[in-house]
Amino acid sequence: MMPTEQTPFERVVSDFAASRIALFGAALLALILFVAVLAPLIAPQDPYDLAQLDVMDSRLAPGSVAATGKTYWLGTDDQGRDMLSGIFYGLRISIGVGVASTLAALAIGLSLGLAAAYFGGRIDSLIMRIVDIQLAFPSILIALILLALLGQGVGKIVIALVAVQWAYYARTVRAAALAERKKEYIEAATCLALSHARIVFRHLLPNCLPPLIVVATVQVAAAITLEATLSFLGLGLPITEPSLGLLISNGFTYLLSGKYWISVFPGVALLATIVSINLIADRLRDVLNPRLQQ
């Protein structure tokens, strides 16, 4: 027994904070989220307001000073856009798409996984057979096919990302729910003649959450990477909605002539986002694993 009683949440937080590298990840992610959410307020320039752009300022090296006296700390792209501002707005779009698709996939995967585990039988085998077939193919292939079929756009890339991800949640939830369903508290709840919905959502679901949180964290990073990759290939977001992947793709042509900053800095921002999320996920996996708890 511990000297002072902790709520489970407090235990998770203190366990999480015990790892310095996980704390670093959390701090980095907090900073990135702060920048992404407040981009319109803190960016030096609105990169999509054409009135603020000056073609004379295109492809300036980092640290260049514009005619107006403004300093472009990370240089400018081929349209004369300030890279720093472009990255702030790009983070906003990349993270927005990543989180939105993860939440939607979570909702779908969760419902189907719970249904499979709770009802079993035909429903279970049908859902899990689809999951198995889908997971046999790499996510990028499925996303490529869907985008080839659907075309471009924010909504379409979210659909593709959801289609790629839902199966992971369905499988995770089903496995957790199957293990939980056999436990006594579910039996007790059934004996109390509670409704199916109440048992599933108030008793079963909360106890399936720990593995789900870990998978969801990893998947946000995976979704952001996949979106960036697809946008880089020219199949993701349209030019009007430039995510980090599109910024990087945009700079690719200039990279070969030594103008590295147009591709490199958005890449660093992308990398920082993904690494910080993965560091958090790595720690959460240990903290939320009941087998590793004393």
Binding site: A221, I248, L256, L271, D282
Partner: protein, 325 residues
């Protein structure tokens, strides 16, 4: 065993049929390829003539039926853009992709297993921790960005390696390959490394986990008690036992390496079938897209089957005939 393989083949055929139907119906829904092929000045009669020539005026089910009948004899349609059989186009590009994927997989295995062993034997050493941190990075780095950074450093700044293309190829048993010439190797090394990075991290993690688990087993303790040298315990007793899951995963991952080659090929302008797919999507070249997908799905099904069979040969405890019942 034979029954099992036959049953698996029948399942595979069903998956392939469903997949081809989905893909065909889906691909049919995108754009009108006639718009891409014909000049904007063309009149209505000319458009109608071309539509009829491509068979696009018939109902969808008729087009699908014609496609299936042709597919059964190995004809997946004519590419709209190149006007050659789609399957021929893909087979022409396939050796380049397979070479890239094979070299990438070799890099992942040759570097990954020793590094993973090291990290598993000395998990708390600086080297062990560095290897593991590196593998997290390998998982996190987006493939295309790694490729760009390699190009920036080795092609643009240092000027050591070419930034794209395949270089001169040499015929080997009727297949043109790059790795036999110095120049070809120079073209191959960056794309292969980029493609290998993710799998390298995977192999390191698997090997490390397997090693740590194996070291606690009785047979390892017994081997040590017998007074065997450390090299023999690790090299023979540990390695042999952890190889089974590694071989399985490597086999299964080969298909995903081919799929991920789409990205690497686009970055390095590597003339493989992945780059062809992206070009075909942009050009609305339906037959090529459908053919690519049919071929890659077949490849996946084949790889999974082979891995399952090999697995049962490697590990006598696995009896697939019973497991599938």
């Amino acid at each position: 065993m034979l029954v099992y393989i036959i049953r698996r083949l029948m399942q595979s055929a069903l998956v392939l049929l469903v997949m081809s139907l989905l893909v065909f119906a889906g691909v049919y829904a995108i754009g009108n390829p006639v718009d891409m092929l014909i000049s904007p000045q063309a009149d209505q009669a000319e458009i109608a003539r071309l539509t009829a020539a491509l068979g696009l005026d018939r109902p969808l089910w008729q087009q699908y039926w014609a496609f299936l009948r042709q597919a059964a004899i190995g004809d997946l349609g004519q590419s709209f853009a190149f006007n050659v059989p789609a399957i021929q186009l893909i087979f022409e590009r396939m050796p380049a992709t397979l070479e890239l994927a094979t070299v990438a997989m070799l890099i992942a295995i040759v570097l990954g297993i020793p590094l993973g062993l090291w990290a598993g034997l000395k998990p708390d050493s600086v080297a062990g921790k560095t290897i593991m941190t590196g593998s997290i990075l390998g998982f996190s780095l987006p493939t295309f960005w790694v490729g760009l950074m390699l190009i920036m450093v080795f092609s643009v700044w240092l000027g050591w390696l070419p930034s794209g293309g395949r270089g001169p190829t040499i015929e080997l048993l009727g297949v043109s390959v790059s790795f036999l010439s110095r120049e070809g190797l120079a073209h191959l090394v960056m794309p292969a490394t980029t493609l290998a990075l993710f799998k390298l991290s995977l192999v390191i993690r698997l090997t490390r986990a397997g090693t740590r688990e194996a070291l606690l087993q009785d047979y390892v303790k017994f081997a040590r008690a017998k007074g065997l040298s450390n090299a023999r315990v690790v090299g023979v007793h540990v390695l042999k036992n952890i190889l089974i899951p590694i071989v399985t995963v490597i086999g299964l991952e080969f298909g995903s390496v081919i799929a991920f080659a789409v990205v690497t090929e686009s970055v390095f302008a590597w003339p493989g079938m992945g780059k062809l797919l992206i070009e075909s999507i942009n050009a609305l070249d339906r037959p090529v897209i459908v053919a690519y997908l049919c071929i890659i799905v077949t490849l996946f099904i084949f790889i999974n089957l082979v891995v399952d069979v090999v697995y049962s040969l490697l590990d006598p405890r696995v009896r697939i005939g019973e497991a599938s019942a």
